[in-house]
Every structure is written in C-alpha cells, then in structure tokens.
Amino acid sequence: MKTLILALALATSGLAAPVFAQHDHGAASVTGAASAPLGRPAGRPPARDWTKLPLLLGKGERGERARATIAVRGLTAASVTVHAADGPAERRKVDYPVGAAGASIESVAPQVGNYHWIVAREESADTVRVASTAWYFGNPGDSPKDLLAVPKHELEIVPAPLPREHRSYREAEKWRFLVRLDGKPLAGQQVVMETEFGSRSTAVTDAAGHATLVFPRDFKPVAQEGDEGSEARRRARFVLSTEKEAGGKHYLTAFNHAYSQDPERNRSLGWGAAFGILGMVAATPLLRRRQPNEGASGHA
C-alpha cells in the first residue's frame, strides 16, 4: 500500500513520470526519453543537442510494473547493470544486454520492488565512463536507502535522497547529491548540472561529499491546448556529471533523470486564498451569539 499514493500523483499528474512509475498513469516517457523512438516529444531536440554526456534513457508502457526499456546514449556498453533495493538476493544485481532499441530490463521480481539503480559502464585503458539513473517500477518494495548506500563503481553521484514515490525533482528546488570515490565521500569535487533547456550550473562538494544543486527555473511558458508537446513540456531531462583523475585513470560519471515544472506555475494562490476567505465569511453567522429564547439546551 506504500506504493499506492494516488493523491500526490494526481496533484502533479503529468509531472516527472519517473517518480510516478508506481502510479498507473504510466511510466511512459521516463527518465527523459531522448530520442523519438523512445518517446521524444515533438519539437524537442535530440539528446545529442543538449549534452555530450552519457545518458540512460528509459521508457515503460502505461501501467507496466515489470519491464522497461533503457537506451544508452553517448556511451558504448554491451550491457546495463540493474541493482534492486529488495527482492531475491540473486536478482539484486542483474546484467541486461543492450540491443538496438536499448536494454530490456525487468523488476527484481514480479510485482515486487520499486527502486532500481541502473548503470552502464565504458572502460578503456585510461578512461572509465559511467552513466547512471534511477528507475521506479511502481511495485511495493523497500526504500532505496540501502541500495544507494552500497558503492557500485569507482566514481559515483548518488542522490541523497532520491525523490520519493509520486514526487520528482522540480524547478527551483534544492536537492543534495553525494559524490563518492571507491565508496568514500569526495570533498571539494565539482559537480556540473546540465538541463535539456540549456541551463548549466556547478556546485562543489562539502567535507561530507555532498553537493547541493538548485534546479533551474528554465521551463518555457506552458504550451497552448492542443499543442502536441504541451504535456511533455511539463518535464525535462537533466544530467549531473563529475570527473576525477585517480590511479592513472580518468573517471567520468554522469547521473541523469527528469525534473518537472514548478507546480505553482499552474496554480493560483490568490484564488486559493479567495475561496478560503469565502469559507470564513460563510461561517461568520455561526459566531452570532444565540439569544436565550433560541433554545439553549442547558443541563442539570
């Protein structure tokens, strides 16, 4: 039942599909599908236009809680590795081959497991490049605290925390990310954020290895009704990256996901307050003191 929080999903329906994957509204077009075959909205530039960093781009069918397709962009990998937060021990870490359409991945077990961490890795003699993302299958399962705590490769960007179910990264919000090298927090490390709309910002990790980034308020004005891309424009992709030289190798790690419009763009606090005041006014007659002959009950 922890996976079934309709309320918040509906309040922000259409925003950030990845974190709504538990919700049957569908995981379609998730983690920011970058190419048309994977659901790129009309009018959007292909992924290569907004970043040169490696990306993992997912797509799940509406209501699909068992399978998803992960496309690898900007990186050559024969397989992607899927780490699960719970489920059978032998299924907690599974490699899936990457085909022409991407890697077809599955939840850790049928109707079990929500949070999954996905990694693709490319290694040469002097360079290691890693792409990573999170996928929410929408099944009942454990929180990702332990999943995120376990090191999965050398240089990592780890959300601290991930948005919980039915939430997402959103414009103008601050979120924290941990940078680790060989499982240890990396202080003074620069993290770069790039968004689909062209924003770019940097943050430096503190002594505990945490970098705090503010998501830019860079969504374009809401499209008119009937615009093919109007729904999709409520969310966009971003990628964080960091690089480090260590042990004679150059490490580059990227974490990509999606972020949503500030919901207040489509809300009116003025109207909200107006109806609150209307309720107050409607209740005012109750404050009129009853006259003695109006039937005070009294008691013995």
Binding site: T3, P144, K145, N266, S268, W271, G276, G279, A283, S297
Partner: protein
C-alpha cells in the same frame, strides 16, 4: 509522576494529540523520507500524503487509488473480477485494520491531525467567550440530519467517483476527489510551510472546483470552529469508514443500563459531536457512529461507573463523581473555561516591607 503530568484524561489526550500531530505532519524526520519508510500507508486518520514530511498516509488515499486504477481499469480491460484484482484493496483494508484494531475510533479523537487542529480552534473560541453552537433542536437542527453527509461522501467520493473514473465514465481529474476536497491536505501542508496545496490548479476546471471546495471548507473550519465543535468531523468520510469497523475493535465506549441515568444530559453537553444518544440510550446505541472516543462524556458523567472507555474486558477509564467535581472546576462540559485572572502574588512582600 504520571498522575502529576496527566491529572485528567483530557490532559493525557492533549499530550497524545500533540505527539500525534508531530508524527502525522512531521513524522518523516523520524521514520524517513521514502514512502516505504512510513509507519503505514493505511492509517485510520487524515494524515495527508500531500504533506512531504508526514509519518504515514491516510487509508482513504490508497482506497481511492486502488478503486480507480485496479478495479476500475481492470473492469475496463474486461478482466474478470478476480482475487488478484481486489487483492491490493484487501491488503490496504487489512493493514488499516491492524492499526484500527488497537485503538479503534480513538484514531479520530486522539490521532487525527485535523481533529486536533479543530479542537484547538474550538478551545480558542471557548477561551474568548464565543458562544457555542450545537446541532440540536432550537439551534442548528438535529444532528441526525447531518450524519448522512459523511456516508454520502464516503460512498461518492472515495468509492463511486474513483470507480467511474477508472471505468472511463468520469474525467481523470475525478480519480481521487476526496483528497481534493479534504481540508487536511491544505492544513497539514501549510503546517510544513508549503502553500502549494492552498493554491488552486488553473487550467483544469474539475481540479479548480474541487480545490475551491477544500479551501472553502478549511476557511469555514477556521472560523466556524470557534463556535461549532469539530465542524469537519461531522461530515468526514473517514469517520464513516471507521464507523463501519467500530464494533470490531476492542476499544469502545461502554454504557450499561443504569436506573440513575438519562436525565442530566451532561455527557451530551460534553460531547464535541453533540451526540444525544450517549445520554438517552445505553448499550450498543450509546456508542454512536459519530463517536470519536475522545472520552469527554465519561469525564463529565457525574455518576460512578456509568460511562467507561473499555478495551475488551478492561476499563481504561470510568466515570466517577469525584473526578467530575474536580473536572468542572477548571472547565465546564461545553468546554467553557474559567477566565484567566492576573493577580498579584500574595506571597511576594511589598517593596516597602522589603526595604524595611
């Protein structure tokens, strides 16, 4: 020690309500950020899922969701009504009942954050001498006329509309209509400093309309609650939901038949839900569908052992004349409190005397 800290049942309940308000509104500080960390997703209290800091979720949230997405959509897909289809809903109800079994409808009177806030608003009204209004003949009309509303909201907004939405009959925006009109959504998110839920959705007429109802209700609650005790509880579908199961929890209000009862009506005066049956009936009928197990009727019953809060065979609290006499010295049954008086400390010596 406990007797000093909690001299009355009301004081103990107040402490529990403060603790539960923290748990239901800010509980993620303790239990964790993710939904999987929450105490439960099927709490018998209006602990709102829109509140990003809460400690658990109200049972009506998954109920609407599952009726909408599991049952409604599965029926659309022409599947048979199978056990697997309704299993999530059954699991939600079982989880709900695991909690409900322990303290039953006391979730309304002791745990619900919206109930706590309404009570505190009422205390402000009493403190400032705002006349109490009641659902009774001669004032707002008989309380029985209001009771069906909560059942209509439960059936219509928690079950029927989500089902129709799942079937594709009603718009998607009506998938969780109770949450959209629930004042707890607005109140608890405001308590975390978030105005997002107070703001109305623009561009979706259904969402705008439902949100307008919620805001009107909370505005009404804020002002009306000064004069009328627990205004929203009277129409709360969660109270109706809990009432369905109230006989299945060992915690209950017990009032056996007594010859010396039925005339003073002090228990009804004390009841924040204006339940007349607690004074006019005994046995099962005295434990009414509107009861929130707050225990005020037992506190203000001037007869020994007439009204009890019982958990199974154990009497947790029993009315007594001595308790009543002490209680009314500080607060009358209708909640009226003695005015605060600021007096000079008699023990403090006068300045001149000190100088001497």
């Amino acid at each position: 020690m406990l007797k000093t800290l909690f001299p009355t049942l009301s004081r103990f309940r107040f402490a529990v309500q403060v603790l539960m308000l923290f748990v239901t509104v800010y509980g993620s500080i303790v239990v964790g950020h993710y939904a999987a960390d929450k105490i439960t997703g099927a709490l018998p209290a209006l602990s709102c899922a829109y509140d990003q800091m809460n400690g658990g979720y109200c049972v009506l949230v998954p109920t609407q969701h599952q009726v909408h997405h599991r049952i409604g959509q599965a029926m659309v897909q022409a599947q048979q009504v199978t056990f697997q289809m309704v299993l999530p809903l059954l699991l939600t109800f079982l989880t709900f009942f695991a909690f409900f079994f322990v303290i039953g409808k006391a979730f309304c009177g002791w745990v619900c954050p919206l109930g706590t806030l309404q009570e505190w608003i009422g205390k402000i009204g009493r403190r400032f001498g705002i006349g109490l209004r009641r659902f009774e003949k001669g004032d707002l009309g008989e309380v029985k006329r209001v009771r069906p509303v909560k059942w209509l909201l439960l059936l219509g907004l928690v079950f029927l509309l989500p089902l129709l939405t799942g079937l594709g009959v009603t718009p998607h925006a009506l998938g969780n209509p109770f949450c959209d009109i629930c004042p707890s959504r607005v109140a608890t998110t405001l308590l975390t400093g978030n105005t997002e839920e107070l703001a109305l959705r623009i561009g979706d007429d259904w969402k705008f309309g439902l949100g307008a109802v919620a805001n009107t209700l909370i505005g009404f609650m804020l002002v009306g609650g000064l004069a009328l005790r627990l205004p929203f509880c009277r129409i709360c579908p969660l109270l109706a939901f809990n009432s369905v199961f109230q006989r299945l929890s060992p915690l209950r209000l017990a009032k056996p038949t007594r010859d010396n009862c039925g005339s003073c009506r002090i228990c009804t005066e004390a009841c924040p839900m204006d339940i007349p049956e607690i004074s006019t009936h005994s046995g099962r009928k005295a434990y009414n569908e509107d009861c929130t197990l707050c225990g005020r009727c037992a506190e203000y019953c001037p007869q020994d052992g007439v009204i009890k809060l019982k958990w199974g065979p154990f009497a947790l609290f029993s009315s007594s004349r001595e308790y009543y006499k002490a209680k009314v010295k500080g607060e009358l049954p209708d909640g009226t409190v003695k005015p605060l008086k600021f007096v000079k400390n008699a023990a403090k010596p006068a300045a001149g005397a000190a100088d001497a």
